[in-house]
């Protein structure tokens, strides 16, 4: 997993509530057996017409936002399906950070497994960043994970919360599985205890 420490990039505004994972990556693109290559189909049905032509007024098709690395979105971003194809598509497009007032649980987890930082902020902070993101090519913001701060184009700072363990993993690009396997003796012991107590499992 790629590390995440500090990111300075264009923020794109998506002021819609309940952006679901079907919107982020529609099902026809889930038939891949790879993790890569989904960026071109990110937000496919909002981004392209039926003939595959770009829909001009969709934010990521606008010249200023084509290289966006940050999304600022409405409540409950990533609701719906557990498909990790959603963060894979965001990452493949180049998005490394999503900011909203709330995220759906599974999507939120999936982001951390892929080097994407989802940030939860109060409505007023999201409104402020949404305004900043509306500034086109001037919508440059900096997200610093170490200090847990977001700096807007005017220099104003907003701080955010993040779970210390997840922060540690993102900062160091750590692989969960390798870390858990270091605890194999605890898992072995638990399994032995369980097979005595609940042998039917």
């Amino acid at each position: 997993m790629e590390k995440f420490d500090k990111l300075t990039g264009i923020a794109a505004p998506l002021p819609l509530v309940n952006i679901d994972t079907d919107m982020i990556i529609p099902k026809q693109f889930l038939k891949t057996i790879k993790r890569s290559g989904l960026g071109v189909n990110l937000f496919d049905e909002m981004r392209y017409d039926r003939q595959g032509n770009e829909i001009e007024d969709f934010v990521l098709n606008k010249p200023a936002y084509r290289d966006a690395q940050i999304l600022v979105a409405g409540d409950n971003f990533g609701c719906g399906s557990s498909r990790e194809h959603a963060p894979w598509a965001l990452l493949d497009f180049g998005i490394r950070c999503v900011i909203s007032t709330s995220f759906a649980d599974i999507f939120y987890n999936n982001c951390f497994k892929n080097g994407i930082l989802p940030i939860v902020l109060p409505q007023e902070d999201v409104d402020k960043l949404m305004d900043d993101a509306e500034r086109g090519s001037n919508a440059v913001i900096t997200v610093d994970l170490e200090s847990q701060t977001i700096t807007g184009p005017d220099g104003g700072e907003i701080s955010f919360e993040v779970d210390p363990w997840r922060k540690h993993c993102l900062l160091n690009g750590l692989d969960d599985i390798g870390l858990t396997l270091e605890k194999a003796p605890s898992i072995d012991a638990f399994e032995a205890k369980m097979s005595a107590e609940r042998p039917w499992v």
């Binding site: 919107m23 609701c79 557990s82 999936n110 042998p199």
Partner: protein
């Protein structure tokens, strides 16, 4: 100190490791796997030279992509990319030695229907799957939730998940349900009351007389949609109905192990003095047969109401409702029961069980679907299909004009050829009415199986109480 909730008890019984910083490793008893969210996980294992830690606790079944037409064993029936994905599951199941129900097996079906049917799902277990509707298994008093593909790989390799504990939420449905009101109406009404993010960060325990009165099938319908309310999982404490359902299933414990299991299962309920972070109480008698009008499961109303005006909402919901009405082609003030439909889908992990098919068939007996209507029944598993044929339900559906399909996820998410075309409007027993969910620009109204069957007959959304 207050007592424990059912969730607390299952959590404590599966805590394999707790680090000093509070990070927990939760042991997983059952890992269900399907073809869409697993290929990258198995590939990850191979790349790292890892194996599946507990193949005997890992169960795979293809369901999302598979065609539901007869003769589907013929690989030519599947598009190339679907065929590759199903073939990958075939070969991964073999390579890693996990339990497998291939398309050709009569026990194949939607993973969340197969698990309980085969007795893999038992009270007090932890159950995960790379699918958000894993919440279904909570009906057995199992802690069950969806995970992403990275976590699928983590469970395959370690049989654990890195977890943080959720908060406890109690949803109580008191009293009796009115005639015509079903488990689907309960679960949609709860989402209508709490919103699609109302459960975020919580595990919900459903309780109350109306929940206890539900069959296991109905309880599965309720828990299935916990995720649509944002909750990580939904739970219902096991009782005699649960034990009765589980007993004798192929992978349920037998003999002395059954007795030992029962002794523990009977302790699986929330203590009277347990602490709840949030409590929602709804009177069973206040729940009406409902339908969705928008593009989020929270956009739900009793069938006898009218399409709402976007201005009646607040904040971001005003814009969302405008967008939804535009997408759905509806006008504020329009009666929901005047909305004409052209497609009916009965099936999915929400409503593809035998009781659902019985409820729909009861409405359709001796009736025909409206001219020009496309209607299909997709049983949740091959065994549900066989049972429905034995009970004569299949004949009722066929005589009414429904297509009688093979088992799979089908038009719930339309990854296989069962899709809506642009502008088509569907009365669906599935779980999501998102934009494009059942096909590009397709329009979905969620409802119970009986309501969907009634709509097939009348050609519009219909108050089931008028047909009873």
């Amino acid at each position: 100190m207050s007592g424990k909730t059912l969730y607390d008890k299952i959590w404590d019984a599966h805590l394999a490791h707790e680090a000093e910083d509070g990070t927990c490793l939760l042991y997983i008893d059952r890992h269900l796997v399907h073809e869409v969210t697993s290929p990258q996980a198995f590939e990850g294992l191979r790349m790292a030279g890892r194996t599946v830690r507990a193949p005997d606790k890992t169960i795979a079944v293809p369901d999302h992509n598979v065609p539901t037409t007869l003769g589907r064993e013929n690989p030519d029936q599947m598009p190339e990319d679907s065929r590759i994905q199903v073939a990958a599951l075939d070969s991964n199941a073999k390579e890693f030695g996990i339990h497998y129900y291939p398309v050709s097996d009569v026990r194949q079906g939607i993973v969340h229907i197969v698990g309980p049917e085969q007795g893999w799902t038992l009270p007090g277990m932890t159950v995960v799957c790379g699918d958000s509707h894993t919440a279904t298994h909570g009906a057995f008093g199992a802690l069950a939730h969806g995970i992403g593909t990275s976590e699928v790989e983590h469970v395959l390799a370690t049989q654990t998940l890195i977890q943080q504990k959720s908060k406890n939420m109690k949803v109580e449905i008191t009293g009796k349900l009115a005639p015509g009101v079903t488990a689907k109406d309960i679960t949609l009404s709860v989402i209508g009351a709490t919103g699609t993010a109302g459960g975020t960060g919580y595990v919900i325990e459903y309780c109350g007389e109306a929940i206890r009165d539900l069959s296991m099938e109905g309880r599965m319908t309720v828990c299935n949609m916990a995720i649509e309310g944002g909750a990580r999982a939904g739970l219902i404490a096991p009782d005699e109905k649960t034990f009765e359902y589980v007993k004798g299933r192929p992978h349920a414990p037998k003999g002395a192990q059954w007795e030992a299991a029962m002794a523990w299962w009977k302790t699986l309920k929330s203590d009277d003095d347990a602490h709840w972070d949030k409590v929602v109480t709804i009177k069973g008698e206040d729940i009406a047969p409902v339908v969705t009008w928008g593009t989020s499961p929270e956009d739900v109303l009793p069938i006898n109401e009218v399409v709402p005006a976007p201005e009646s909402f607040e904040g971001g919901k005003v814009g969302a409702a405008k967008r939804a009405l535009d997408y759905m082609g509806l006008t504020p003030g329009q009666k929901l029961s005047d909305i004409e439909i052209d497609t009916v889908f009965i099936g999915s992990c929400t409503n593809g069980r035998i009781e659902d098919l019985r409820a729909a068939a009861e409405i359709l007996k001796g009736k025909k679907i409206k001219d020009g209507m496309r209607a299909m029944v997709v049983p949740g598993s091959g065994l549900v299909r066989a049972q429905a044929e034995e009970e004569g339900l299949a004949d009722i559906f066929k005589e009414a004009g429904f297509e009688w399909r093979m088992a799979g996820c089908s038009m719930c998410l339309a990854m296989n050829p069962d899709q809506l075309s642009e502008g088509e409007r569907c009365a669906s027993t599935s779980n999501r009415n998102f934009e494009g969910r059942q096909g590009y620009k397709g329009r979905t109204h969620l409802m119970s199986p009986a309501m969907a069957a009634a709509a097939a007959v009348t050609g519009k959304l219909t108050d089931i109480r008028e047909m009873m």
